[in-house]
Amino acid sequence: MNKKNIFKRKTLPALAMAGPVSLWMILFVALPMLYIIYISFMSRGVFGDVVYKFSLESYGTLLDSTYFKVIVKSINAALKTTVLCLLIGYPFAYYIAKKPKEVASRLIMLIMIPFWTNSLMRLNSWLLLFQTSGPVNQFLQSTGFINAPMSFVYTDGLVMVGMITTMLPFAVLPMYSSIEKLSKSLLEASADLGASRRTTFFRITLPLTFPGIFSSIILVFIPSLGIYTVTDMLGGGKVLYIGNIIKNQFGAIRNWPLGAALSVLLIVITGMLIYIYTRFAKIEDMEVV
């Protein structure tokens, strides 16, 4: 009798709520990842596919300095993107969060609409805009700013613009969600107690919205490490980041075991970074880690 009640009261709701997501994670994430780890220890076949023979060759290849360079470069670029997205995105999220709910939801939707168009085409549009004979150069030349066309395309600057415009919603959305939650009464109380706006912001708003900021960092930094479309299109394929390298292993270069090993490496590095970060920031509620 008791057991049945406990089941109904405790286990059933837990199962119903957390069950589907756990099942999905096990079936479609854990299992494939196990497979990836497995093939990272296998050998490469003629076509770069997997031959089921144990070999540490892939991990050996990782020790090459090329990979170290790529990883450092990628982390660097991802950090820059993340910091810029946070700095640009937080005030923006704050502004939206202070609006009434219907207005805010429309504003959020406005942010997402460009992303329902195709990302490749948006990147292509930047190229069309900034190319040598494009409108920007023509305008600058006609107003006499410059004499000869400037090359904006295939530069680091344009790549960064591309990265930020691609990643911004992932920064704004979680921060908005967290800022919106801030109870107005807290802010009023703080003001009533004599705190200046700046103090209120740094000691109340910022810390309380920290979970949103944390989510933003995760949702921006990590994908920025693995993304390759932006550098491919706006960077003219001249620079490779770790995302490009991994994609090539499953694509043009064809070395699946190496691609698997690189992914394992990426997971380990990112895991370490997250761990260090949470220790440093002393986050408690982070069962996400």
């Binding site: 299109m233 003219g236 001249k238 090539n248 499953f250 270069i253 064809r254 070395n255």
Partner: protein, 354 residues
């Protein structure tokens, strides 16, 4: 702890199960002696490479449906071929360099040429692995440049590393497109498997890389003025030239002795394909000179089908993109076997840069 171990063990067992049954479940055996003729044909090929009208006509004449899916990279096709492509597709497009390994690996079916009489129109010298593929179109990969804006007149591959061309070259990508020209420039075999030669080619490519403004969209960058030299396919050069129309100031580099690469896109039938009869009918259809000639109007690529080239329109025959002398001075991409890993390592090194 015990629970963790038991979970891990179960998973390892499951893994073993996966690797054990390699594809026996995944495919029902193909019974090519289908009682009923097929009504659907599934093709996997490049986008914008075959005329929609021709497909529609084929569908009408044979009362069948043709499903086209597109690849974005040669590697996509290889993935489909090596991961049970026959389940989904009846015809897959790949290139000549892979044929040797594909045949050896048993990934492609032998084609019954008795059902494809029109295949006799194809030039024999352009046909590797004769029993397993049908060549469709071919590409010369050469240099074109803007004669007004290019600082250098290009007569050989070595002109490409001239520092005066810094940031002026728009190039296609791919280890097996870039390394061969470096090897030729250094006087080696473009299909070399010698590591020291490949290493030298890498050094050459480092200099080339400094002159490259972007990889990919080569003809686009040439026409919009970003670059003044392009290393690209003749088909794409043809678009660029026709886009510029009267303002066309693009010329093909007049090579004196360097050969250019000639590559072929061919159809293969993946192992286990389900609609082989229709596939053969289709192959016979597109090797028909009249059909291919019509195709060439929309997609003016070079073609290994001699009869079709004969029957093609005058605009095609007089296409300035194909107006160069050294057409016989070509090399083909050969399968380099194990050496591909050497190429890939250096290619990666090249792209990662400093």
């Amino acid at each position: 702890m015990k629970k963790v171990i038991s979970i891990l063990l179960t998973m390892v067992l499951i893994m073993g199960l996966f690797t054990g049954c390699t594809g026996t479940k995944a495919g029902s055996t193909v019974d090519s002696s289908n009682a009923a003729p097929s009504t659907e044909l599934n093709i996997y090929m490049w986008q914008q490479y075959i005329s929609d009208d021709l497909i529609a006509k084929f569908e009408e004449e044979n009362k069948v449906k043709v499903n086209l899916s597109y690849m974005s990279d040669n590697a996509d096709a290889i993935t489909k071929l090596t991961a049970g492509g026959g389940q989904e597709y009846d015809l897959i497009m790949t290139c000549d360099a892979y044929m040797e390994s594909l045949v050896k690996g048993g990934y492609v079916e032998k084609i019954n040429f008795e059902n494809i009489p029109n295949a006799s129109n194809i030039n024999e010298s352009y046909w590797t692995a004769k029993e397993y593929c049908v060549p469709y179109l071919m590409n010369y990969i050469y240099i074109i440049y803007n004669k007004d804006t290019s600082p250098v007149e290009i007569k050989s591959y070595n002109d490409l590393i001239n520092p005066a061309l810094k940031g002026q070259i728009a190039s296609i990508d791919g280890a097996r497109n870039l390394f061969p020209i470096a090897l030729v420039a250094l006087g080696y075999d473009p299909n070399s498997t010698n590591e020291s030669e490949i290493a030298e080619a890498y050094e050459w490519l480092v200099k080339y890389n400094q002159n490259v403004v972007a990889y990919g969209n080569a003809e686009q960058n040439l026409t919009n003025g970003t670059a003044s030299v392009a290393f690209t396919y003749d088909g794409n050069a043809s678009w660029a030239m026709s886009e510029l129309g009267e303002k066309n100031n693009l010329v093909i580099a007049d090579f004196e002795k360097d050969p250019v690469q000639l590559g072929f896109d061919l159809y293969v039938v993946p192992k286990g394909a389900k609609h082989v009869d229709l596939a053969e009918k289709f192959l016979n259809y597109i090797t028909d000179p009249k059909v291919m000639a019509a195709n060439l109007v929309e997609y003016p690529y070079s073609c290994p089908n001699d009869a079709a080239v004969e029957a093609a329109s005058d605009t095609y025959k007089n296409d300035p993109a194909r107006d160069f002398d050294y057409k016989k001075n070509v090399f083909f991409q050969k399968d380099v076997g194990e050496a591909i890993t050497i190429y890939n390592d250096y290619y990666q090194k090249l792209k990662v840069g400093e």
